[in-house]
């Protein structure tokens, strides 16, 4: 091969490598996608679901959250919220439950009134994890003192959703709560149930992979 040919070949390989790195960088810059809460007057609202297995993508067996955007379920855990605003959360919880590693998180913390509403009933402050259903997942933002336990579906449930997105015909619990967002900033949130089955301490897999059982609240002015 002549010298100019070799130089060209090296240049092409290098260019392809750089382009690949740039594309990878851009992909991860926007992954998982950020979805914005919907405005309802002065407040905002967001509808999520927690599922026992995503069913597709690189980790189909991972437990995960999805967000409802205009009727379409999007696999993401990055939520854009407006600062100093009341945000009403609705989470449909389709997973079975277990005991909490720390039952301190039986209590609801950091929501308006310190309560959550379970399946449209009266507001509650404590969910007992030592029951048949246990706790399926929690929605917690430690830096904001927010922790919301979500009971699992009954261990004997027969109509269990196995692949996301799940529709409301499957067994589930609906949890609603409201938080007041702080000043603009980036706040990590996570589940505190050791639900990464098969991983050491239950905290691997979906628990330690961005986009499944953890993510960020992007609070903007």
């Amino acid at each position: 091969m002549s010298r100019p040919m070799r130089a060209t070949a090296v240049g092409v390989v290098f260019a392809v490598f750089v382009a690949g790195v740039v594309m990878l960088f851009l992909y991860f810059l926007h992954y998982p996608p950020t979805v914005a809460a919907a405005a309802t007057g002065a407040d905002e609202e967001i509808h999520l679901q927690a599922v026992p297995a995503l069913g597709y993508g690189p980790h189909p067996t991972y437990v995960s959250y999805l967000a409802d955007i205009n009727g379409k379920w999007v696999h993401t855990t990055m939520f854009k919220l407006k600062a100093n605003t009341l945000v009403h959360f609705t989470i449909d919880q389709y997973d079975t439950g277990s005991l909490l590693r720390n039952s301190f998180m039986d209590q609801v913390e950091g929501t308006v009134d310190g309560t959550e509403v379970l399946n449209g009933g009266a507001p509650v402050r404590i969910i007992n994890d030592n029951t048949d259903n246990g706790i399926g997942h929690t929605f917690a933002v430690p830096s904001l003192g927010i922790s919301v336990p979500m009971p699992g579906i009954a261990s004997a449930a027969t109509n269990v959703c196995s692949i996301a997105p799940c529709d409301s015909s499957f067994d589930h619990n609906t949890i609603t709560f409201t938080i007041k967002t702080p000043a603009a900033g980036l706040y990590p949130w996570q589940c505190f149930v050791p639900c990464g089955l098969g991983w050491p301490t239950g905290n691997g897999g979906g628990m330690s992979t961005l986009g499944y059982m953890n993510g960020f609240l992007k609070v903007v002015a």
Binding site: S98, Q190, T201, N214
Partner: protein, 321 residues
């Protein structure tokens, strides 16, 4: 050419070079030591917010001051060599030769070994005495600390010190107060001027409890009760973080504690005990450590026999309004 100018142009002897280096080194070292000890020293971390922080700052001041002559010698010698013994660019290449061969010098080697050994041994004694006189100086000393303050008892219920159990979990800290009914809180509050027994443990992986400005640092190991002691002096906030890489959100495993007056602490503890009263039955009994069960809950391993079913705690009600 005069006799004086001839003398000034004569190359310096090795002894003259050594004297010049020594003088520069001594002068800069003295200036540096004074600056480090008196100017920088009072601002060195971790500050003066507790007895332990003060002891650690004193140690940092001493070590920093001792390090100055070593630091200065390296840079003075390097600077002197580059300035005086650099090959000039005008020197022909074939005149650039190798330096003289190195030879051993028994006296120099003896002094070198003697000074460094004495320094290390002195620091060892200094550090050990500091730890012994300050109940471990804020470091985690394991489940059976050697140096303990008056009133310490391994049994939290019998300890005359205020016991704060620090529980690490991926990725947050919580705190239990066994002498106030065993309530658990996500805020650490301690009284000023009162020695506290921090019992540090973890529910999953290895974390490290670091109350930065209080100078308290103890690894949080699962299945281990790592005890540290500390007396906060200054009323204010406490910067708490994890100092052991523990997973995805290690960097977010931070919180802010409070140092309050003893009266305010009693008020807070009484109120918190009442606030968390309904939650206490759901927690396992207070224990030095908690180990996870296969079904996710945690239990007191001191129970005999070990529980095979659900952990202690009411199975009902399922919710509390």
């Amino acid at each position: 050419m005069t006799a004086a100018s001839t003398a000034s142009a004569a190359p310096r002897t090795d002894r003259q070079h050594m004297m010049r280096i020594a003088v520069i080194w001594v002068v800069l070292s003295v200036i540096g030591m004074v600056l480090v000890y008196f100017v920088w020293g009072p601002h060195m971390p971790p500050g003066k917010d507790s007895d332990q922080a003060r002891v650690q700052q004193d140690g940092n001041r001493l070590l920093g001051t001792i390090a100055v002559p070593v630091f200065v010698f390296v840079w003075v010698y390097l600077g002197y060599v580059l300035t005086n013994w650099r090959v000039k660019s005008s020197t022909p290449v074939d005149e650039v030769g190798d330096g003289p061969p190195l030879k051993g010098h028994a006296g120099f080697q003896a002094i070198w070994l003697g000074v460094t050994t004495a320094t290390v041994l002195a620091l060892f004694v200094f550090g050990t005495v500091d730890l012994a006189h300050n109940d471990g100086a804020g470091t985690g000393s394991g489940p059976s600390p050697i140096w303990t303050p008056t009133g310490y008892d391994a049994n939290a219920a019998q300890s005359k010190l205020l016991v704060v159990q620090v529980i690490g979990q991926q990725w947050r800290w919580t705190f239990r107060y066994p002498q106030y009914g065993g309530f658990e809180s996500d805020v650490m509050v301690v009284p000023a001027g009162q020695e506290v027994q921090y019992s540090v443990t973890s529910l999953d992986v290895i974390h490290s409890f670091w109350a930065v400005n209080l100078g308290i640092k103890a690894d949080a190991n699962p299945g281990v009760n790592n005890v540290a002691f500390g007396t906060a002096d200054k009323i204010g906030s406490v910067n708490i973080r994890c100092d052991e890489l523990c997973g995805l959100y290690h960097g977010s495993m931070t919180t802010t504690g409070k140092v309050v007056s003893p009266a305010d602490f009693k008020t807070w503890a009484t109120k918190a005990s009442s606030t968390y009263q309904q939650l206490i039955p759901f927690l396992p009994p207070y224990a030095d450590i908690y180990l996870p069960q296969s079904d996710g809950g945690y239990y007191d391993p001191g129970q005999d026999p070990l529980p095979s079913g659900p952990p202690p705690g009411p199975a009902s009600p399922s919710v509390i309004p």
